[in-house]
Subunit: 299 residues, 4 copies
């Protein structure tokens, strides 16, 4: 297939590389010209602008957008619109909120442009060597772009999930599950670290990666992480988050569904960003008031 | 009534004072002679030993033990036993585990000694001015000691709860509830502290103490604490715990009952004692492995 | 003072009654004429329309709106606007979202009308006999309406909290705390119900209401509830919620603050509304797959 | 190698089969003679008693016990002891509590018998085709039995973890992680089931098993479960538990470590076993008391 790819960050760059290595023709664009120049060595056509990218593609165009979620997606779509024609296909492969994807699909449908929201999982490695793709959009139009996913996904690693929004909904929930699984694994290692035994965490992660019930990619990554820093003594336990976990919990609230473990995994991330907490002070102060229990004073 | 009181720490001292002010005759003993000397000014008879305390009491003796939970209770009982006679009454007013109280009651029953497990709430203020007493033991024998509780409890602030162990069981659960209520209140103030508004916490605690649904003693104590240190800037958010909350959650596990909020209140206390966590490091390392997300390095 | 009161539901009716008994002159309006007729017996002036209510008030008008949160508040304000003049005061005493209150205040400020968002706590009893009022709005204008709160609040049961939105923010957080406290208390009674002892819950709630650390209005209400139905055998454990708890957790997510206990209290409410859960089925099915553990089949 | 295997339930039978297919000589015993007869077809020697099993083995004996955790393990060891000699090796491959394993090891060590606590994961499939083994015991003696694990584990699927107890400790924590991961996955599917989209759960589990971050054996099992019953409509959401999850949380309490997600996963299992809850009734009754909110009455 022939397609345009806008956004050559970590994920976009690796995806382009993957597509090129699989014999697709790719016109690429990024505000930073460097990754495009790099990809040109693999056969990509770097465009100097979004307009030039659109002009360089045969009709109907297939354009994959891989930029951070939020306003930037709309700005890219706004820049593209003047050059798009009825029948063109726009794919948002980033981590957009599924409700935004529904709105974007409606807006583009009015102009006869087909929109797909594609949740992408598998990390940088997945983008580079074959990942997992969850796809929402028009079922008929999907047939046209399916070869693309046959090339870049691992075996059976793509799914046409349903109407617009369903792809990003699946990705959001995937990330919610990921939060819960990571916190579960992490709590397990915490229990090892506090035990009377002297476990070698890399060895443990390896044995758990082989034949156990909890084997999976996250455990393999734990093995990898411990192989580099056996006790993770070089890093702090600050658990950042980039939004999809919060969206999952917000969606659970919208739907009034109890997802206690995913919710708590998110809240523990927020907790980890604070050195000390105000709620802790309040509890300490209350204990002091009623029981005369001592408090730890700031020095 | 006439009774002996062993253990003159914060709680025992205030209880003795309360009893003396209510015209009871109290023989007191503590390893430290000082509080006994202090209480002598109010009319207490300080004993030089546990044996002397027993000797000083008319038969049947009523002896109230107010020492820290655990082995010390058994040591005091062991010291008392040679001097006790059938019909004597031993009261454990400390924070003992209810299962220990059942064992102690059985052991003393064999010798014809009646044992009461009495959970005491209300803090130092309660011990001094009238608290809340939850009482487990023999129903008939309770009538004999009831005047004691009529004197030291606030109006309707005592309850014969049932067989041995029930008093300390109630106290344990009381403390579990207390953990949950304190964490709830504390999270509320955390939400105030992070808001766009400049709340005066003392004022808020006061208005919530007057007429609101969440009014109660803990909120009044919050007001008191904020009146001394408006933003609690002098203390750290280390939430210590002295055992009953853990017992509550352990009992919930024994009974296979879901008590998520009490359990979590306890776990957040443990969390507060750590500057950084190993589980946080594991999550941060995993995010770095699959997504190249940056980690915070130790400097 | 003289004021208008729009909305005579459970809360509005009791508030009007309270104001009338405290010698305020009140013009009342509700779509249902019956409560207005009832209040007329106590001296209220029932208005046949919102316009008539406004016409009946001296300038500057003080109008208290007590209707369900959401669109109805805006509809009432829309109906009022043609009859309002610069300097008039509008009070929203309902459970509005604090962000809505900020928007409404801005909109009314443009016309020279002062808006106050007032969170009201204390239940029907509080509205009738003196409750707790948390007030956001202009500090200068507050002086004008302060006598109103002096009359209807319990002693020190009102607080000028700060700029617009702060009143409803405090009420929202108050309700979040309430969720956590109620769940804590309820888990405690759950532990009593599963224990080896035969506790009388009404007695327990009473003793905990007298002198204990966890005493407060909620515990008194528990005593009251158990006095009517000693084991609550007549009702189901469906824990409804009316929105403020959800708002609290949503706000915690917005602010990226960990409020695990309040969040979990809300999620347990959602859980209680389901007879069976899909997540339970998934876990049961997984256990069956890996371990051959038996599942409970639908008959 | 040559070894004895006591206990031919689901796990023991499959393990014996695995060993026999890997050319080990296995003497087997179970109170039920049937599985032994079945294994005899594959070359096992069925013993009529534990004594006969011991007699049939060359010195030093290696005996693997695969029976349910608890007293049965001690009973089997008691039955074995008269026939064991210094230098013999006893392996407990069941789900014993790590503290019990420490006690058993000490007891056997006094007689010169080496004890290994071996946590086994991978379910029936793992026992049959290669699983994951976590091994605690004497490091030197381990060399003697290592060939056994080379045969029955998947590649790198065994680990000498450390001193006695460490094997079962690792297995316990493994299961705690498993609880958290299963609950996370299950909550994700709950969110799919409540969404506006019509997801095919089997398809979703399959795409998440291919290339995603959350891929692993549990997700593959989910795919398998949905392939048999697409909406799990045939089963109830009763989440049983067999003990290790509870031990994990109890250990977390012992160590005073916060493991909120694992704890909550366990508590949600307990919650799932109840149709209705007492705590739910208490919350509903309290709401009714203060706000007049309606309750759902039992019909």
């Amino acid at each position: 297939m022939e397609l345009g790819l806008i956004g050559l960050g970590k994920m976009g760059f690796n995806l382009a590389r993957n597509l090129l290595l699989n014999q697709h023709r790719v016109t690429v664009y990024d505000v930073d010209p460097e990754p495009g120049a790099e990809l040109a060595k693999l056969g990509a056509v770097p465009a100097a602008s979004i307009g030039q990218l659109a002009a360089n593609l045969p009709s109907p165009r297939t354009i994959w957008i891989m930029v951070p979620a939020g306003k930037i997606v709309d700005e890219v779509i706004d820049s593209l619109l003047p050059d798009l024609e009825q029948g063109d296909i726009v794919i948002d492969g980033g981590n957009s909120h599924y409700k935004d994807s529904v709105v974007r699909a409606d807006r583009l449908r009015e102009r006869g442009i087909r929109f797909f929201d594609v949740g992408t999982s598998g990390g940088m490695e997945g983008a580079a060597n074959g990942g997992c793709f969850m796809i929402g959009g028009d079922r008929e139009a999907f047939k046209f772009i399916e070869p693309l996913f046959q090339a870049i996904a691992v075996d059976r690693g793509y799914l046409y999930a349903g109407a617009n929004g369903s792809g990003h909904y699946l990705k959001m929930v995937h990330n919610g599950i990921e939060y819960g699984m990571m916190q579960s694994i992490a709590e397990g290692f915490e229990l090892l670290s506090k035990s009377q035994y002297e476990f070698n965490y890399e060895d443990v992660a390896r044995v758990w990666s082989n034949g156990s019930v909890i084997r999976g990619w996250l455990m393999e990554l734990a093995e990898q992480a411990f192989s580099k820093d056996p006790k993770l003594s070089g890093i702090k336990g600050k658990m950042m988050s980039s939004g999809e976990g919060k969206w999952t919990v917000q969606t659970a609230l919208d739907l009034e569904v109890g997802t206690p473990v995913i919710a708590l995994s998110l809240l523990m991330r927020y907790r980890s960003l604070e050195e000390d907490t105000f709620h802790g002070k309040v509890v300490a102060a209350l204990r002091n008031e009623f029981g005369g229990h001592s408090v730890v004073r700031n020095s």
